[in-house]
Symmetry: C2
Subunit: 222 residues, 2 copies
Amino acid sequence: MNALLSHTEENYLKTLIKLVLENANSEAGTNELASHLAVKPATANDMLKKLKEKGLVSYEKYGKINLTNQGTKIALEIIRKHRIWETFLYEKLDFSWDEVHDVAEQLEHIKSDKLIDKLEKFLDYPEFDPHGDPIPNKEGKFKVQHKTTLAEIAVGKSCKMIAVKDNSNSFLQYVVKVGLGINNEIKVLSRQDYDAMMLIEVNGQQSSVSQKFAENIFVVFD
Amino acid sequence: MNALLSHTEENYLKTLIKLVLENANSEAGTNELASHLAVKPATANDMLKKLKEKGLVSYEKYGKINLTNQGTKIALEIIRKHRIWETFLYEKLDFSWDEVHDVAEQLEHIKSDKLIDKLEKFLDYPEFDPHGDPIPNKEGKFKVQHKTTLAEIAVGKSCKMIAVKDNSNSFLQYVVKVGLGINNEIKVLSRQDYDAMMLIEVNGQQSSVSQKFAENIFVVFD
DNA sequence: TTTATTTGTTAGATACCTCTAACTTTTATA
DNA sequence: TATAAAAGTTAGAGGTATCTAACAAATAAA
Ligand SMILES: [Mn+2]
Ligand SMILES: [Mn+2]
Ligand SMILES: [Mn+2]
Ligand SMILES: [Mn+2]
């Protein structure tokens, strides 16, 4: 059934589904794909032909790229594995928030349905990973949370942090430094007209954060 | 320091150390290596040149193959990872005896010292894997047990099973079926002169086992 | 609507890992 | 010791994943 893909092919699918999901227009381009995978457009183009040949992506020459149903299914399986492994590393092995991603990038390619299912059970069926991202279940379904960014919360209002948008190590470390974490209550005390710098309060601690920072914190209204 | 090796290179080193250790004469041959890796001798020969170039194996044209100190160090690290992962799968995820090996073959190539050290701690520093094989520590040291095979135990004597020699799925499943497991006490009731078939008793259960079977069960005297 | 810029594609090359077929060296056997 | 068998090596080739450089198409700007 699952036509044994290489690490590389899996990484292309995973990147494609991320682009397709966040692009809103539900499609991706060659250059965009290449840059996210840190390869040259020519390389990505070759791989796209191969993935099309295998029925995992649909696209025509000079057209936009989409995943087929089969491609989407596989991509979600990889995301599922990635997030379950991140949860394992964080919950059981005491890895920190910013350390889990790189190792999960390797672990997500381990081929064993039994392994990931048993790991999921061992973790007691987690629904979200350490960054607040939803973990797809075996059927590829996951909890969709209505989320806003901290940048959009009005002055005087409170909200709860549920996830981060940027998953880079430097951002994650910065978030920790500011005293923020998943499920923390955040109160917006003020916002500058000039540059949208915000003063926020978390656990009684006040911090000043930039617009760029606030745009990468996902929150829900209280 | 550790010049990032490919999965393939790591598998060659791991196979080499096994051959070198079990060959007693402490060396291996090209054909032998190739057959263990399920590749053709020509392929193994190419890789040997490459590993020699990298300073991991020492050998001269038409001569015998040995690992260098650096090659030995890396090979032991891979074995360490393999056995720690097997222990994790068996102890924490309820994998059975015969299921752990194949998944560990993949997991052993994950590159993260932190991961394997934290996993080792999580498992409370195990010294032996589920098959009774010793787990090298970070320095590559491991417990050496003086072991004999069941085939060598005299009639009327008892011994304790400490490991299996053959790690194949079919053998492991057979061992379970016979009612045997690590740390079981085995009493040798009789042995046929003709074909060395043995009658043994384990946990009050009597079984008849072949010489080939007995030669693959490692035991220690009581 | 012509031109410039961005985006995407092709051609040709390299590194890695593998193979088959032919050859050479070493070891075992008669 | 001459010959046969086994073990090991080389040459030549193919698939995958990558690159650079040159080209083509689509889109944005003038
Ligand atoms: Mn991640
Ligand atoms: Mn995550
Ligand atoms: Mn094993
Ligand atoms: Mn084992």
